[in-house]
Amino acid sequence: MVLLEYEAKDTVIHRLNPIAKAVWFACCTILSTLYLEPQPLIILAAQIAMIGYLSKVPWSKLISRAWWAYIGSLLGGYTVSLWITSPEQLWRIPPEYGCKVLLEVTPKGTPIIGYTAITYAGLLWGTTVTMKIALAVTAACILTYTTPISDIVSILGRILPYKASFIVMTGVRFYPVLLERIQGIVDAARSRGWESSYRNPVKKVRSLYTIVFPSIREAILLSERMSLSIESRAFGVKKPTPIKTLALDRSDILFITFISSFTGLLAYMWSVYGFGML
């Protein structure tokens, strides 16, 4: 699990209405998508860090959960950056500076891969992409840490049709149950000498097939039984009664106003002055 689980705490952020936190998360996502330069992302990072601090998020736990997302974005970002070698790709960077080759990785004409090199522009782009993904993941962790999953789903329920949001909710709800049962299947196989750590890919796929069959069977059985349960509890018969009120109070409105203004301002600077474009 990459994200943090909800922990009931009495912090300013925990007390906020889930809608306010969802707006904050949406703003963070918009800003991290817009910006292609590290400087504005640093401002965004500071803002996310402040929210994290106010919500008393356990940073070490967050890092231990999300480390592979951070490492993945780092590796992915810098790998793709090797192809950023021509001045047209990043129009705001002076070509003589942006495409200055620091190290040629593969020469021109290399089959399939083509020409790749480490350039200043590429490094800048790789750093930005890594930051964008890391910030989005961190914001998501803070959201799930401060907001019960049921509240997140009930917000989804207001955006999506009921059945679609129910599918999302059921998916999230069944993830740990199914994971536990699949772990049981894997343990049972291991206790009969099964292993999957083959180097040969054919052997690896064959060994995984052994686990896939009972796992799928288990998932089908569980969903069949669950479908009986929801059918007998009148799922889809009528428009369901909303049982949670998500009314905003003054602090929620203030928070939303502040976050929206902050996002609006940065977005305005981006569109009018090209702030944060590479």
Partner: protein
């Protein structure tokens, strides 16, 4: 007609049902009327048709499960064939044995709200129903908890709350306690009792266990091969204890004892159906006693060979979130022992077993786990499985292949053994487990008992010296449970060491040579069954109850019966000795 529905909310007339793709009817010519406000227990062996009958009554058949249904089924006057499942659910709620399949929400209260909110009822009404359902199932204090983090008994209570919020007058439960530990079972049974007594809800439940039925039910219906073979008041049905036993239904120890005494003209009148009744009557009988029976040497130490086959030192385990599953475990297990590992769910039994089988590796450098001379810290799984085999709890989740033969050969193929050796070994195992007739049968089509045997066969085929079995009797009827234990005992006699995790104290008393009791990750008692069961006050702290016959002997100890009696035969011989002096 109206008054008939008022008295009998469930009426079945000449009902037969055959599942799609099967030729054999699962139910045959059932005629039943369930009285309002009554608790009815449906007893029968695995495959006798209990679940099918519950599904037919609840309208799951034919609305959800398809097949050939004949006859008339009326629930509160509604023909189940003509009304959708949700409409029937407002009259009869069906609770399955797997509570996790019922749970759809992230908090307890939202789960209870799922049904009524789907009906589009006004919010006030939904809230009222949530309160009622949570109050009746004692989940009020847990309302904001994630259902995933509840105990087994609490999850089953939530499943009941989920159907209860639809406000049915009848609740039908399919083996509601079969997957639970004693604490969970007690919780669920007492909730059902409450629902019946306080709210007048008609309860129908299926079970393997007459002891459970006695505790709760006014009426017992016995099913055998899809037919109703007995139907009557609980007391009357229990008087036919010998027939019940022949059918394969587990009857209370006290009923068996009094039946035996009655056959010897030492007991007159009705067979006792519960422990209090047996106690009062035996006290009356013992007034005429002649002498006190000789007391066996109760606390004889287990004869321990020199070297343990399993050695555990300084083993602790903490799960993420800080739950201490094991705390400084030091343990020796000796060759040829039949060890029963008992304690309530979450006491650390399964975690310990996983360490013994190499599925968890010790992280602390001072921890030592040696199994038959193999240090598990750095051992490869392929080497571990040759020493110790692990049979998990639910056989269905451990079947990887289509046929019995393939399944039993699974472990051997993983060990890379020659094909002709595998063939011979599989044949040998099938012979030992009496599975020869099922050689090419599809594993998923077998009954639960045979599925377990196949899984066990797949493990013992690798010839490990130690076999760990995790709750092998869960969901098995009494005959199959006894068969499994006899099989394990037979393996022990052939030189294997058995470690069995279980909640079945009668089987522990009968088969185990040693009992280890765990609580909160620690071993709190360790000794022979006689020694362990003679410490009811310690066992109580783990919600473990000694077998019924031992509890009776403890109640009778001031009248001269040794308080650590383990079997009916023993108790019978004491009583006979006291009355006849032989």
């Amino acid at each position: 007609m109206e008054s008939m529905y008022r008295d009998y909310p469930v009426i079945l007339e000449d009902v037969s049902f055959t599942y799609e793709g099967s030729d054999k009817p699962a139910l045959k010519d059932i005629d039943l009327r369930i009285r309002r406000g009554e608790v009815t227990a449906i007893l029968g062996r695995t495959g006798s048709g209990k679940t099918t009958l519950i599904y037919v009554m609840g309208g799951v058949i034919p609305n959800y499960v398809k097949g050939r249904l004949r006859g008339c089924i009326l629930v509160e006057g509604l023909d189940t064939r003509e009304h959708p499942l949700y409409e029937l659910a407002m009259h009869i709620g069906v609770v399955m044995d797997d509570p996790e399949a019922h749970i759809v929400s992230f908090t307890v209260w939202e789960d209870a709200a799922f049904g009524p909110s789907n009906l589009g009822l006004p919010k006030d009404e939904v809230m009222k129903r949530i309160e009622f359902a949570l109050d009746a199932t004692r989940l009020g204090a847990l309302r904001y908890r994630n259902p995933y983090n509840l105990s087994g008994g609490e999850k089953q209570s939530l499943a009941i709350a989920g159907v209860l919020s639809m406000m049915p007058n009848i609740i039908a439960l399919d083996e509601p306690t079969s997957m639970l530990d004693p604490l969970g079972s007690m919780r669920v049974l007492s909730i059902l009792k409450d629902l019946n007594k306080r709210y007048g809800i008609t309860i129908i439940l299926s079970s393997f266990d007459a002891e459970e039925a006695v505790e709760l039910a006014d009426r017992i219906i016995v099913l055998d091969k899809g037919e109703v073979v007995m139907d009557g008041d609980t007391r009357d049905i229990l008087q036919e204890a010998d027939i019940l036993e022949k059918i394969g239904i587990r009857i209370p120890d006290v009923s068996k004892l009094t039946m035996k005494l009655k056959m010897d003209n030492l007991w007159s009148g009705d067979i006792a159906i519960n422990i209090d009744e047996a106690f009062k009557r035996i006290v009356d009988i013992l007034r005429d006693r002649r002498e006190t029976p000789p007391r066996p040497n109760p606390y004889k130490e287990i004869e321990k060979p020199r070297e343990p086959i399993v050695k555990v030192r300084r083993l602790s385990h903490t799960y993420p979130g800080g739950v201490k599953a094991l705390q400084d475990i030091n343990l020796d297990i000796y060759n040829g022992e039949f060890v029963a590992l008992i304690g309530q769910n979450g006491s650390g039994k399964t975690t310990l077993a996983k360490y013994l089988c190499g599925l968890l590796k010790p992280r602390d450098r001072y921890t030592e786990i040696i199994v038959d001379g193999l240090d598990l810290r750095n051992a490869r799984m392929k080497d571990i499985v040759k020493k110790i085999g692990y049979v998990f709890q639910i056989p269905e989740q451990q079947l990887f292949f289509t046929t019995v033969k393939e399944e039993i050969g699974f472990g051997l193929r993983n060990l890379g053994l020659p094909e002709d050796y595998i063939e011979d070994r599989v044949e040998e195992i099938m012979r030992i487990l009496e599975l020869e007739a099922y050689r090419d049968s599809v594993t998923s089509s077998l009954d639960r008992g045979r599925k377990f045997r196949v899984v066990l066969g797949s493990v013992i085929a690798m010839d490990p010296k130690i076999i760990v079995v995790d709750e092998p009797t869960t969901g098995q009827d009494w005959i199959e449970s006894t068969y499994i234990c006899r099989l394990l005992d037979d393996l022990r006699r052939r030189g294997k060491t058995i470690i069995m995790i279980t909640h079945e104290m009668e089987l522990v008393a009968r088969f185990a040579t040693r009992v280890i009791v765990m609580r909160e990750g620690r071993v709190i008692l360790d000794g022979t069954p006689r020694y362990v069961f003679s410490k009811p006050e310690i066992l109580r702290s783990t919600w473990v109850q000694p077998p019924q016959i031992t509890r009776l002997s403890q109640m009778l100890s001031e009248y001269g019966i040794p308080g650590d009696t383990l079997s009916i035969e023993e108790m019978y011989s004491y009583i006979v000795h006291m009355l006849r002096g032989v």
